[in-house]
Symmetry: C2
Subunit: 500 residues, 2 copies
């Protein structure tokens, strides 16, 4: 029987997909080797920092084996608050192909991870990739080592099949994302007319789908202003028997300060904090309404009994388009098991406010400091208050009319057989904003992980399906971008790109 | 020239004192060896628990070398909240002398310590005794290894001089005091008609003077009710980007709960908590007024800018005769350096209320639970709240007309040349209450440490003077008790005992 002939691109994609299926055990094994490196950039200790650097070297070697030109950019040292310093891991700049006829797409990823240990409640060893029911558990599996490898798997497939890459591929990988991307912005700025001069599109795959099964494309992220609030009586702790009842206790001050930040409905109590928040546009309301999100399923899969809001639209609004304040913890107080009778002498609360357009981190810093100082002054405490914004990362939003969004939607339809959810992300990937501001390039977020991947939590995983189909998706995206580039000159709109 | 002839007891005390002065380097060296053992009973981990047991064995060997009969009482295992169990260190019962003509005095002490590490801010290695300007820094130096050794030093002096002990001496030493004296009460109850049957007086030296230089005698302690309040959404943490803004965050609930406990003036907000507090008697007001306490000096030596109260009487009232609430910390939240963007899924706040006569821990438990449940219910949170009282230790107060208080006052006058402050202690030594209740014996607290010793804090120390003169004080106390015993039959009152 005669069927419709496959286009050359479709035929190549079929070959690439088969190759990726055949190679999947090897691809999982490489992910296992990467997860095994405890590349924790959050805890500023020399042993862990060395692991981050070792991870960067492993990735550089992997890229070289794929035929890439690789540069490890030294970005110097990190100054810590206590006066110490730590070396920063190098940043990887890699390139495959320089054909001026082809589009050039640059992938950003990070190879550092959040802290993880068995004592935190992991059911598996966090740095030993463990597969259960098609889920690959391990710190960094989804955030962000798995997606980085999926990109490299796609690249490798073309080479293994003896095919030229349909696009020029560049890769920028960092090792300090979880600690605020220290050193990265300087490199991007410096390479604006170098490494990035030929780049047409920038892709970031550092967030999650909204669903366990349905892919997404992401066109905006919240920013983050991270605060420490220190209350100090003295450097040493006190015995609560010897001093309890006559002291202005720092923990009482701190608890009152932290308790003044947000009400039980999640509303932030810092005066003026909502004054620059952009109200949602009609188009944004329309996009949100089209998103597939079953709140019941969302709660079940997250293990949450009840959310603050009951409609899909309200939940998306408060995740994507409204600021949110979270209290992360307290440093300097008693945090271990047992019953220590201590009055901590100096305690530091940590909280952050996620920022949305058109909030500005510098304005938020001022609002928060003034508010906390005013709350503190009402306590008549002789203790010393120090409020610091230790991270101030701006929100980002992209133009979804841009061509690479079209190419990605087509690739998703081809590989997953469905339209993607058009999403924003509540978390912060500052590099998207940096790329857009510094390079004036089109930036797109193309997530590979499912909603229940548990990034930053104790059961982080990536589904084998997401990892392997994600590798195919990147290959399909390369082919779609190449088509788009071949069509250059003709105007391209999402409507034209829609399949019949 | 003829001077007044020394009494035989005074002559013996002079010899003993000279011996102790000659031996002081050896005595400091033994303290160094004891401090070197990390006998931390607070953190329930096997390695540290083994160190506590090793400490008990060291002390038993020391007692045996002094000629004591020593029993190491096995008190079984400790059940931990998580279902695990740990062996309990043995309790030491030791005895020197059984002369029925002599008084029998029993010393209670503990050899376990609070946690300590360099990272907490110690300027010296906490388990390496370090002398600076006559101060012996090290964990346990004053709480309670130094005082235990001072007692043993006094005992050893009589033997070294070929003299009989003026009293029969018994010693009970435990290794779980900092963790609530697990297992001790059973031993005391069991030995009521055994080890303790012949005991006339019980001495505890586990608190501090009110001053850097002036000794004290202590006739009461506060109790302690230690609470954990857990708020749980789920066992895993959340990413604050992915969930921030739509969750009832456990830390927001917990901070509100902890913030509802005490106002900026130190007043506890739990309804009914003050209803059983005994108002101070006229005699208590008189004793407090006689205490030497320079609040300015107290603040300077404590490193505290300003206390909640401005008069000596108010400060003593709130340390000794009023309950106090201290917030110790939070378990399960982010407590490390750095900026982790986590929403903790399950957090446990820890606080305690010091109890005074006539409060009852069981009543306080009920009041606190009801109050926190009511505060929580107003937040409309779907999270799970669990309030537990993990320690409930009753307050204690003694009859200061008892003979051993007289003997101790005389001994203090002889060794230190001054009347002691008659004090209560704001902290909790539950064994005093246990001895009084179970054995119906006279209990006295005879502190050796100075006010600035920093027990439970990062710069714990004992002054060389306090350690060495304290050893002499115990020897003088033995001699005074012997005199008191020889006078038995004649009524003894503090007035008769006063020197001309």
């Amino acid at each position: 029987m005669d069927g419709p002939a496959l286009s050359p691109a479709a035929g190549l994609l079929a070959q690439v997909s088969q190759y990726i299926d055949r190679q999947q055990e090897a691809f999982v094994q490489t992910l296992r080797e990467w997860v095994a490196v405890e590349s924790d950039s959050v805890q500023p200790v020399p042993r862990l920092r060395r692991e981050v650097t070792r991870m960067m070297e492993l990735a550089a070697e992997h890229l070289r084996r794929l035929g890439a030109g690789v540069e490890l950019v030294d970005v110097g040292t990190q100054q810590l608050p206590g006066g110490q310093s730590l070396p920063l891991p190098p940043i990887i700049l890699a390139a495959l192909g320089t054909d001026p006829e082809k589009a050039t797409v640059c992938f950003y990823g990070h190879l550092d991870v959040q802290p993880a240990s068995r004592e935190d409640g992991w059911l598996t060893a966090p740095y030993s990739l463990t597969e259960v029911d098609g889920k690959l558990y391990g710190r960094g599996a989804t955030d962000n080592k798995g997606p980085v490898l999926a990109w490299l798997n796609a690249v490798s497939a073309f080479g293994a099949l003896g095919q030229d890459l349909p696009v020029n591929v560049k890769v920028i990988l960092e090792g300090m994302e979880e600690a605020g991307s220290v050193g990265l912005e300087d490199v991007v700025r410096r390479e604006r007319h170098g490494f990035f001069a030929s780049v047409d599109y920038i892709v970031v795959s550092d967030n999650l789908w909204l669903s366990r099964t349905k892919p997404a494309l992401t066109y905006g992220t919240r920013g983050n202003s991270y605060f420490t609030v220190e209350v100090k009586c003295r450097d040493q702790d006190f015995h609560s028997g010897t001093f309890g009842g006559i002291l202005h206790e720092p923990m009482a001050d701190l608890v009152a300060l932290l308790g003044s930040l947000v009400d039980p409905s999640g509303r932030i109590l810092v005066p003026g904090i909502y004054s620059h928040v952009a109200p949602p546009t009609e188009e944004e309301r329309r996009l949100d309404a089209a998103v597939e999100l079953d709140l019941g399923e969302f709660c079940r899969s997250s293990g949450v009994a009840r959310l603050l809001f009951r409609s899909k639209e309200d939940v998306l609004l408060h995740l994507w388009r409204r600021p949110a304040l979270s209290i992360h913890g307290v440093q300097g107080a008693f945090h271990e098991p047992g019953a220590k009778t201590v009055i901590p002498g100096r305690v530091t609360g940590k909280f952050s406010i996620r920022l949305v357009p058109n909030m500005d981190a510098a304005v938020v810093e001022k609002q928060v400091r003034q508010y906390l100082e005013s709350v503190f002054s009402q306590r008549n405490s002789p203790n010393q208050l120090t409020v610091s914004m230790v991270l101030g990362l701006q929100p980002w939003v992209a133009d979804i009319q841009d061509g690479q969004y079209l190419a990605a939607r087509r690739a998703i339809r081809t590989v997953f057989g469905t339209e993607p959810d058009m999403t924003r992300d509540g978390s912060t990937i500052p590099i998207a904003k940096t790329f857009q501001d510094l390079l004036q390039k089109s930036v797109m977020m193309l997530p590979l992980g499912a909603v229940d991947d548990g990034e930053h939590s104790q059961t982080e995983k990536i589904n084998r399906r997401n990892y392997i189909e994600g590798s195919k998706l990147f290959a399909a995206f390369f082919l779609e971008l190449a088509k788009l580039h071949a069509d250059r000159g003709r105007p391209v709109s999402p409507a034209q790109g829609r399949t019949p």
